[in-house]
Amino acid sequence: MAARGPSITLRERASVAGRVVLAAGGGYGIAALSAALLSLALPLARPEAVAAATLSSFVLMPVIAIVVFAMRSLRRAALTLAGIALVLGGGLWLAMRGAP
């Protein structure tokens, strides 16, 4: 990623573009999933759970974005995010089934 100017290959450009999309979409998606899940799952009063979950999601998003850019390859970053999203999504599905 250190190179710049005409020496950048198409592959590198695609990798950067992919990371941008993954950091933005994946970062927001995981933050949103965690906000939705924790709002139901945190052992607090309902408004407290929602407030705490929403607050923490804003810390999670930049962290995810940075992780995406720090990972060795785009594939690995995508797989990591997909794994996290799967766990959160599964938890949310269970929590929503349990909710009245």
């Binding site: 100017g5 939705a36 709002s39 407030a51 929403t54 607050l55 804003f58 720090a70 060795r72």
Partner: protein, 525 residues
């Protein structure tokens, strides 16, 4: 991993900072000005500066006059908002929405008579305040753009910290005499690091201020999307009451206001009336927040038809809700008195400078080594840099100037001030395209300096009660405002001089390596 982490963070810092830098500069500058929003509005309505403040005992009668006006002029509106007289605006500020799509109604009334106030039409500091989070766009668009920029700013801040191995010694490093790029880098580091706690706080709390707008999914799952139910259950607002569907007249509002004033020591700030004309009408009195970090204003709800007190909310918040209130309180800094407010303001100025130096640094680091034609991307960045860093201050100065120079009776005067703002911005962004880049910086800086001086001159020339024309008598606000404009003029004159006197073109400065990000280079140098 270890060898790659820091360069990739430096890369992320450089590029994330660049893509949002121009918008971020606007958000920072208008947000910084918003610390003095009330003072700016006050200055822009000079007719009111001498007006006597309204006594608390006159507020119930004033509220009844506001209701009388709204019952004749806004009886079809769903919701009324009545801003009660304040020390800096001793008028009733009426606002109502009829239905989506039609422009909202807005009028200022004299609290003593109930007649429309004779005051020049202006958005005042509210325009800068709303630009800060909506960019004068449709709210949905503006808020999402600002939120995305804030999130990317958060990423740029964190990666900027990671990039600095020697964050403590950078704190004391300013190599003024070295090449331009070095001193810009140091200026970027100093303004970034010195006020770093402020930058992190203001960015995160700014996102939190619109938390359920950006991240509604917790409310979606736990409250089926009913944000007001969440707010009410958390204790921020009184419980929303739906319309009953049966018409009923309002009870006299004066006694309700008197009762509210008797139970809360803070200043009454605003009344909100919902479901006017319906048996479910509700009147909510909102008070200024009690002194402290948290933004926890007291709300008192009254039944509109019977006048009975329904509930009192605010203050008694649980930890997470109180955390949100405190974060928002930190962002808006209503708790700050004169000295602390000035500190917040200066931190905001440093944030603006951090963004500006970062943007300039990007373009300086990419100047061609020889007298070659600059690449298209570089030219674009240069044009946008000068267009925002010079264009926005020029636009703000013209906004103030328009307030003093436009005829007082002009129709849509407030709108014309905003048009002047954007016209000036466009012109100030276009002129540099026709000039050599370095010359453009110094010329445009001098232009901003001249515009700031013109604001002071116009202020003295048009305001008869100006202290300088009355041998020191009169409102000190004018002196403070003009002093701030003079300081800005000096700042831009200094910048113009620096750019003009800077000798060697920095483009021949030797570079040891292809720059991927300047801070990373520093670390290895």
């Amino acid at each position: 991993m270890k060898g790659r982490f820091r360069p990739s963070m430096a890369w992320l810092h450089t590029w994330s900072g660049l893509v949002v830098g121009w918008v971020l500069f606007g958000i920072f500058v208008t947000g910084t000005a918003s610390y003095y929003r009330a003072d700016i509005t006050h200055w822009m309505r000079p007719e009111l500066v001498q007006a006597a403040p309204v006594a608390a005992t006159d507020l119930p009668k004033a509220a009844e006059r506001a209701f009388a006006y709204l019952e004749t002029h806004a009886s079809t509106a769903k919701t009324w908002f009545i801003g009660m007289p304040r020390p800096d605006r001793p008028l009733l500020d009426l606002f109502w929405r009829t239905r989506p799509g039609t422009p909202p109604g807005h009028v200022l009334l004299d609290p003593a008579t109930g007649a429309e106030a004779m005051v020049r039409d202006t958005e005042g500091g509210d325009f800068l305040y709303r630009f800060h989070y909506e960019l004068h766009m449709p709210p949905l668009w503006g808020r999402w753009i600002v939120g995305a920029c804030a999130m990317i700013m958060l990423v740029a801040l964190i990666t900027g910290i990671v990039t600095h191995k020697r964050i403590f010694s950078d704190f004391f490093t300013f190599r003024r005499d070295k090449a331009a790029r070095r001193s810009f880098l140091d200026a970027h580091n100093v303004t970034g690091v010195l006020a770093l706690p402020f930058h992190l706080m203001i960015t995160y709390t700014g996102i939190v201020a619109l938390a359920t707008f950006y991240m509604p999914w917790g409310v979606t799952t736990a409250y089926k999307g009913d944000t007001r139910a969440f707010f009410a259950e958390a204790g921020w607002i009184t419980a929303p009451r739906p319309p009953v569907g049966r018409p009923a007249p309002l009870a006299p509002v004066g006694p309700m206001i008197a009762q509210a004033l008797a139970s809360v020591p803070e200043r009454l700030e605003r009344l909100t009336v919902t479901n006017f004309g319906d048996a479910g009408a509700t009147i909510v009195a909102m008070f200024e927040e009690p002194h402290g970090l948290a933004h926890t204003p007291t709300h008192i709800a009254f039944d509109g038809t019977s006048g009975a007190l329904l509930e009192i909310r605010g203050g008694d918040l649980k930890p997470a809700a109180r955390t949100i209130s405190t974060l928002i309180g930190l962002h808006v800094a209503h708790f700050a008195d004169t000295g602390l407010r000035l500190l917040f303001f200066l931190c905001g100025v440093m944030g603006s400078a951090m963004v500006a130096t970062g943007l300039v640094l990007w373009s300086l680091a990419r100047l061609p080594k020889v007298e070659a034609e600059a690449a298209l991307g570089l030219r674009l960045v240069q044009a946008l840099n000068i267009g925002s860093i010079i264009g926005l201050p020029a636009a703000v100065a013209v906004y103030f100037l328009a307030n003093r120079l436009l005829p007082v009776g002009l129709a849509d005067r407030g709108e014309w001030e905003i048009r002047a703002f954007f016209a000036a911005w466009i012109v100030a962004a276009l002129i540099p395209l026709a000039r050599p880049h370095r010359r453009a910086w110094s010329e445009m800086s001098m232009l901003v300096c001249g515009l700031c001086l013109a604001v002071v001159a116009a202020d003295i020339a048009t305001i008869e009660a100006h202290p300088l024309r009355r041998l020191g008598e009169g409102e000190a606000l004018f002196l403070w405002f003009d002093g701030a404009m003079l300081a800005l003029a000096a700042l831009f004159a200094f910048a113009a001089r620096k750019v003009a006197r800077h000798r060697g073109p920095s483009r021949v400065e030797p570079r040891r390596e292809p720059v991927l990000a300047a801070p990373a280079e520093r670390v290895r140098a």
